[in-house]
């Protein structure tokens, strides 16, 4: 029975590889907007290829690549050892394409007078050691800390770069998307949250961290402390000239750079 399934899977993957009339993309909600912009751009030029983009979290991007359910796995964090190992065992060779850079701004309500926090202070807020805004120079309000759910690459980046793997305190609220973080922060005067750079708008206030304001320049130069690369993973480097190859190299073009900037991220190229 297992053999039959294996053959079926091989046949299916061969079918996808040879026909290449569709590219299936799944994964991070942060990389999703870039993938969608690329997909629209690509389909406008290649009407015979159908590109579908789903957003279900970085973990699902890796899982999709592993199970062969997607051609491109969007991830806002690097693949973990365990995921690499599982891929290797299945004969899948994950290749990372860094399509853009992203900063994680710390967001507060626009009415909050606090302008600047250190990474240490942010960590202490999320550890539950600082519980009131007056301890960091703000008004006398109990801090409402908001985090992305543990299912997201954004969370793992924050956990790695800010928390140093220490545990976020138990009173912290969790929400399911970057948009929901912004929604909660813009409607809650005492809130603190974090989301991708592309999600900052006038309804929330981004703080300086260690004295550096999050922007394209400070992320690219490495000055802003909470920044990360965004990945698209493919199974092996795509064969040159195939639609998948053309798709995955869009980010290297000038148009690709513009799309990345338009979505609020920082391109890796500089034209």
């Amino acid at each position: 029975m297992k053999k039959v399934i294996a053959i079926a899977v091989v046949a299916a993957s061969v079918g996808v590889a040879s026909a290449q009339d569709k590219i299936v993309i799944d994964g991070s909600t942060t990389v999703g907007p870039i993938a969608k912009a690329f997909a629209e751009y690509f389909m406008a030029a290649h009407s015979e290829v159908n590109v579908t983009v789903s957003e279900s979290g970085s973990g699902n991007g890796a899982k999709g690549l592993l199970n062969g359910t997607c051609d491109v796995g969007d991830m806002s964090r690097p693949m973990k050892d365990g995921e690499f190992k599982a891929c290797a065992e299945k004969g899948i060779q994950p290749v990372a394409h860094v399509v853009a850079l992203d900063g994680l701004p710390i967001l507060v309500h626009p009415s909050n007078p606090v302008k600047d926090l250190t990474v240490e202070q942010v960590r202490k807020i999320y550890l539950g050691e600082i519980t009131n805004w007056k301890e960091v120079g703000g008004p006398d309000m109990a801090i409402v800390s908001i985090s992305r759910d543990t299912n997201s690459g954004t969370y793992e980046t924050f956990e790695g770069m800010v928390m140093n793997k220490q545990k976020i305190h138990e009173g912290c609220e969790y929400v399911g998307s970057n948009g929901a973080v912004r929604q909660r922060v813009q409607s809650t005067p005492a809130a603190i949250g974090y989301a991708g750079l592309g999600f900052v708008d006038k309804t929330v206030k981004a703080l300086k961290v260690n004295g550096v304001f999050p922007s394209a320049e400070t992320v690219q130069s490495g000055e802003y402390p909470i920044a990360r690369p965004l990945f698209m993973y493919t199974n092996g480097y795509p064969k040159l000239g195939t639609p998948l190859y053309q798709f995955i190299t869009i980010y290297l073009s000038e148009d690709g750079q513009e799309m990345v900037e338009e979505k609020g991220f920082i391109p890796v190229t500089a034209y």
Partner: protein, 383 residues
Amino acid sequence: MSMNGNTNKSLVMSDAASVRLRLGNWIGQGVLFLITSLSTFAVFFIFYFIIKDAIPFFKTEGFKELFTGTHWYPSAHPAEFGALPLFAGTALVTVGAILVAVPLGISAAVCLSDLLPFKIRQVVKPMIEILAAIPSVAYGFFALVVFAPMLQEKGGTLLSTGAWLILGPIFALLVVVAGDLLLDRLRTRIKNTKLAAITVFSVLGSAAFFLIYRVAGQLAGIEISSGTNAFNVSIILGIMALPTVVSVSEDALQAAGRELREGSYALGATRAETILKTIIPASVSGILAAVILGVMRAVGETMVVWMASGNAARIPEPWYNVLQPVRTLTATIAGDMGEADHVTGSSRFHVLFALALCLLAFSFLMNLASETIVKRSRKKLGK
């Protein structure tokens, strides 16, 4: 060709036709039976697969931490699987929802079945049932985008207004009933009944007013720092459970029958006495079944709690503080599933099935209980 050939056809069915008929019958019944058993099989399959994936967790981690631990960090190294805050969150939210849905639902059911004229009832009942047709994500969106900011901005005002709206009518009713009873007792001893009535009602009335005023004043001073909390979700879940409670308990009240009501009136009982002392006791098991169905609706709801409960895995302090964020079992399963699989550590994957098993066992027991109760009530009413 003449028509004569056909007229000779016997009225007795030929052997072949008889076989065909029986075969068709048999196949038809078989197909229908298969389709019906499919849904039964689905239940067994769900039980089987959830148990299959829950067992590895209990094997590696045991039972103690899951049910007694208070730290829920499934993604940490080393992971902690204390699900007590999740059970507490589910319980708190469910109790809250029941406190909203049951008094409202039963009052509405009584009103529908015994007070409103038939024509109005035919309009109102379907409207209440529409509540059940609204998708839960719409409720969740409302809770997150409208209700949560409202609680943050004018939480105190909202709570004190709520106290007036709820306590006002209840106390008014209590004052009238208590005053009436008191006057009845006093009637034999006092001559000036008019003066006595004025005194009794004004004393009771002002006492009640003062009490509500104090409670509302206390509530008005409360500031809610985060609107996504157990209170928010309880209210929304209560509204979601309302149509179930109303519909089922109204059916139960109707089932008590006309004879019972007429018998009660014939004995000289008033309408209030008939409802409180005859109809409700007669249909208590049906009402209980309605409550259980409401509980199940609240326990199993996922989208609303995931969007609007705050999802903080901590037991509120004190435990009944509904103004703090909570995390429920269903929201945890939905929220943690994406990143949890065999790749990233199997306990983290299997613990979600262990939680699902607890939920399943709970709703299975509740379902059994409601079945038994309904069956017993039918027997009691002789139907």
